[in-house]
Amino acid sequence: MASTVVDRETPSTVVERDGAPRGRRWWIEIGWRHVVGIVTIVICIVPLVYVLSASLNPGGTLTGSNQLFRTIDLQNYRELFEGNYSSWFANSIVICTVTSIGTVLMGGAAAYAFSRFRFQGRQGGLTALLIVQMFPQMLAFVAIFLVLLSIGDVFPMLGLNSRLGLIAVYLGGALGVNTFLMYGFFNTVPRELDEAAKIDGATHAQIFWTIILRLVAPILAVVGLLSFIGTFGEFIIAKVVLQRPDEFTLAVGLYFWAADERNARWGLFAAGAVLAAIPVVLLFLALQRYIVSGLTAGSVKG
């Protein structure tokens, strides 16, 4: 990453030094752009600086957090782990990890079938997936609640109030959203490769697990991480399904902390928010390029 930065910047700085206007013309042509940029960045960063400052203010209320960086103390971070926060964090990580792995495997398998086999109903299946894709799963959250209510009678583990049940719901949305993204990528892997393997006696399963999946690893990573970030921010279904405080995900738990305006421990919430944001922001920045291309393929981050 670092090397590409250097490579790209060097020629442009050369251009800049050669053709850069000076004095008043510099202000008219370039200088104002810096002003716009700096103003925008300040607007972007103030809320983030504010939440960081609030998180370092022990016992902070909303009012107490207004003076930025008045005190710097890790008290809030220590207190976080005395309550439910650590289990929320663990829940979020586990639910998102399992969901993204399941999504990648199921989506990848479906994309493999659509890309490599010619079978009856293939065309219809693809079209059906495209239509399903139009309707986000979360629109049916009332029915999801009612269906889980009934499933809970038979499989308590998959009913309401169950993290496993929530994962199952998320996996239900996996095929509709990601198969197309993967399908396109699978098609770019030359068929000659698997045909050669077939001649050497490889079964379809061996071709899938040892050849195709390795070759499409980049898209698997992207889909997996997009699914992770998406699940991490998913709120409405998680709120409907999970009702016991120790089973909350971060989104649901932190909502309750911040929603309670009178008794809210704002500092505690802020610390929780900072910790929760760190993994996602890091993932996001690392994946920036892929996420952008993934977004252009039609998925929107939640």
Partner: protein, 538 residues
């Protein structure tokens, strides 16, 4: 392709000729080919089967016929697909397909079904359940009935009663009706010990007094036979329902007043005078839920306002984020600017920060009395950013702009860089000014790649529940509506409120509203797909 197929060996190499005539076709038969993969498959399918069989038995026990039928079909399908040599694509499709079927397709169909019923509080279950609940709720002590010497017992934390009736000891709990306990020890008229049960003493009874006085142990599964309850933990009274259900006529009769209650079309037992027994049961109500939002005067106004605001919010969100994103993209699309990379990385920070957290942080910052914006930026102002109807709308749009412009910035930057420089150059030579170039060249070229994303963004914001719910919770609320909805509610948060947060849960109405959203979203997506011509691409 066909060449390759002819090159393929007719049989896998590990099949050295038939050992018996019967097996001559089964070259790759699993019986002789226990590869590691096969073992894994066997274990996984066995696990699924075990789970499925457990589910079938459990569904049988609770009489969930729908789940039972689904499980049987799913198990047959899974086993056939994984052990047949023919259904190869199925092996890759079935896991995802099963989840898709249950948690996406079925729930959508179920939304459609519920939308035509009165499912909700007071109409939660079947008629049989309603009959049982009515019988139990209307039980009173039978006048002049004998008192029963009663012992409170406990097993695994579950409370029960042990009584002596006609000289026989019987034990029962809330779930299990009284059954004879022949091995119980009876002293005098009272049970003093039951094997497997712990007899509670005074102190323990006092501790759990509330639970014990509420405990109802029925005589049988038929609620009309009555039950035993106690006030003091030592004497039991026979309770019977004052409302008696007659299966033949399908009516309830009040044994005290003689009034009869007949089932109504709306799923309740109703007397001639119009007295309604609760709970009722689930019945189809046709299009009532759909027409209610238009005809119920207390609901129609707010519904219309919310619909208009939902469209306005989605449209203005797309417009503002796109305008700012495009503006910034153009501003930074000049190679002479130093540190473009730094600007770009910092500009996308709001987008990288999880959206739900941003909404919550902004909620705190916009707080009327203590928020950062009023206290610090505006020097102690008293502006109700989230509490006045119009300002709340403005705040939501502003916060969404903050959240969303980086996405548009990234997208537009990419699209701008894809516009060939020589086209622009040619326009310049022809004498076009900067504004003319933007209007007639850049924007139309940009739109080709960006328009589908704008449509997707519209659909996303149309259902941006998280932002609304976290920032304002839909408030400030309308006054006098039968459901709790407010000036900033979107259709989807109205659905949530109707279904879960309005005191009286109305799943039927909520589902009907969901269907309306489905239609809008479907239409938007259809337009989007038409534009990208994805349908033709397959």
């Amino acid at each position: 392709m066909t060449d390759q197929q002819t090159l393929e060996p007719p049989a896998p190499p590990e099949a050295p000729g038939p050992r018996s005539p019967r097996r001559s076709r089964g070259d790759g038969s699993h019986a002789r080919n226990f590869s590691a993969g096969f073992v894994v498959k066997l274990i996984l399918v066995a696990l699924v089967d075990a789970l499925g069989v457990y589910g079938i038995l459990a569904a049988l026990a609770v009489q969930s016929w729908g789940i039972l039928a689904f499980l049987v079909l799913a198990l047959v399908a899974v086993n056939w697909i994984y052990f047949s040599k023919r259904a190869v694509p199925g092996k890759y499709l079935i896991p995802g397909l099963l989840f898709l079927l249950v948690y996406q397709l079925f729930v959508m169909a179920y939304t459609g079904y519920v939308a035509f019923t009165n499912y909700g509080d007071g109409h939660n279950s079947t008629k049989a359940d309603a009959v049982e609940a009515i019988s139990i709720q209307n039980e009173t002590r039978v006048e002049g009935s004998p008192t029963l010497p009663l012992t409170v017992v406990q097993r695994d934390g579950e409370l029960g009663f042990a009584v002596v009736q006609d000289g026989d000891a019987e034990v029962g709990t809330a779930e299990e009706p009284f059954t004879a306990a022949d091995d119980a020890t009876v002293e005098g008229e009272r049970v003093t010990a039951v094997p497997g049960w712990e007899v509670l003493g005074f102190a323990q009874i006092a501790e759990q007094q509330a639970a014990i006085t509420e405990l109802r142990v029925p005589f049988s599964d038929d609620p009309s036979e009555g039950s035993v309850r106690t006030q003091d933990g030592s004497t039991g009274y026979v309770y019977q329902s004052t409302l008696v259900y007659d299966e033949a006529t399908d009516t309830f009769t009040d044994s005290a007043t003689g009034e009869t209650y007949t089932p109504s079309e709306s799923g309740n037992f109703v007397s001639e005078d119009g007295d309604v027994l609760t709970p009722g049961w689930r019945v189809g109500v046709g299009l009532d839920n759909f027409t209610r939002v238009f005809t119920d005067s207390r609901l129609a106004g707010p519904f219309a306002q919310i619909t208009v605001w939902t469209f306005a919010f989605a449209f203005l969100s797309v417009l503002t984020t796109f305008a700012v994103g495009l503006f910034l993209a153009i501003v930074f699309n000049d190679p002479r600017i130093r540190g473009r990379k730094v600007y770009r990385s910092l500009l996308i920070l709001p987008y990288a920060f999880p959206g739900f957290l941003s909404a919550l942080v902004w909620k705190g910052m916009l707080n009327e009395r203590f928020g950062f914006v009023n206290e610090v930026l505006l020097g102690g102002a008293d502006i109700g950013w989230l509490t006045s109807p119009w300002l709340a709308k403005l705040s939501i749009l502003m916060v969404n702009l903050w959240l969303g412009f980086p996405y548009m910035f990234i997208v537009c930057t990419g699209a701008l860089q894809a516009i060939p420089a020589d086209t622009i150059e040619a326009a310049k030579i022809d004498g076009a000014g900067a504004w003319r170039i933007f209007r007639s060249m850049t924007l139309p070229l940009l739109m080709i790649s960006v328009a589908p994303l704008l449509i997707a963004s519209f659909a996303f914001n149309f259902n941006n529940f998280t932002l609304i719910y976290m920032l304002t919770g839909g408030g400030p609320n309308f006054v006098g509506t039968p459901v709790v909805v407010g000036h900033t509610d979107l259709l989807i948060s109205m659905v949530y409120s109707v279904a879960f947060e309005s005191g009286n849960k109305q799943y039927g109405l909520a589902s009907a509203l969901s269907i309306l959203i489905f239609i809008v979203v479907g239409a938007i997506s259809y337009v989007g797909f038409r534009r990208t011509r994805k349908l033709e691409e397959i």
